[in-house]
Symmetry: C2
Subunit: 164 residues, 2 copies
């Protein structure tokens, strides 16, 4: 029989985190889609666009949502068809474009925000302020670790490409 690692606190915590993330994302995805017609990705784009006052370049969006540029191209092209964003050329860089949040996009975002709030309340139900605070500290650390790991992956593949 194979030796499944149990009892290691770090491994257990990691597993619990992954299981929890999976369950929360599944719940959020289906609730969000059923009640707003938006995927969580699209909601994220609408939201960051609103925060940035309605305009961003695809590269900026890609950095923000941790996706490649071509994924933003396809995501935005779907959102363009749905009328939530439109595109205009950049005034300062002729290679670049600005993704603009439309009136319909704003309305969709306003409609979707209560759904996001309900999901947050369900997921974080019966958590004390103290738990929320300690969780915030921990999550910031975990997120930073993951970002460090991702950066290392990116640098390694860049190095590989250069040495090849």
């Amino acid at each position: 029989m194979i030796n499944i690692e149990v009892g290691n606190p770090v491994f257990n915590a990691y597993h619990l985190f992954m299981q929890t993330a999976d369950a929360v994302q599944k719940y959020a995805d289906s609730t969000f889609y059923r009640r707003s017609g938006l995927s969580v990705s699209k909601f994220g784009v609408l939201q960051i666009l609103a925060i940035r006052e309605g305009s961003m370049t695809p590269s900026e969006i890609a950095r923000w949502i941790l996706r490649e540029r071509h994924n933003v191209t396809t995501l935005v092209s779907r959102m363009k068809k749905e009328g939530y964003v439109r595109v205009e050329p950049s005034a300062t860089d002729r290679r670049s474009i600005n993704i603009i949040l439309t009136e319909k996009g704003y309305e969709k975002l306003e409609q979707a925000q209560p759904v996001a709030r309900d999901i947050a309340n369900q997921v974080m139900a019966s958590m004390s302020e103290r738990s929320l605070n300690s969780m915030t500290k921990t999550l910031n650390m975990v997120r930073k670790n993951a970002h460090n790991g991702l950066d290392e992956l990116t640098n390694k593949s860049k190095k590989r490409r250069k040495s090849a």
Copy 2:
């Protein structure tokens, strides 16, 4: 301008959790795939099969990994092609089958486990035992909340189907 909800501790904690989950999953997915050739889903199936002593039905797997039965059908059919599992009819229920972990599946799992351990160590780096403990408590609560939400969704759609 739209009113983006910031300052609400519950909403902030939820957002941080989602961002962290996204970053960790992205890191885990790409590292796992590069170093083991397995997706995290496939690893999960291999692992639960090993824990259950090498045999489970598709329905049991589906319940465990929080996916629908037909998703297990397609996932397992890919793993069958790769030789990690094989299938045999159930001796007790002629509707059912058993998914069996092959020797190659065990080997792949053994090969993938150090990768999982490395990822866990990177993600949970520089966390004190106390942080791990408090995180475990919180995550258990969050996971339970998400499961409750998912159960409600399932029951609602069952009710809808029955009343229709």
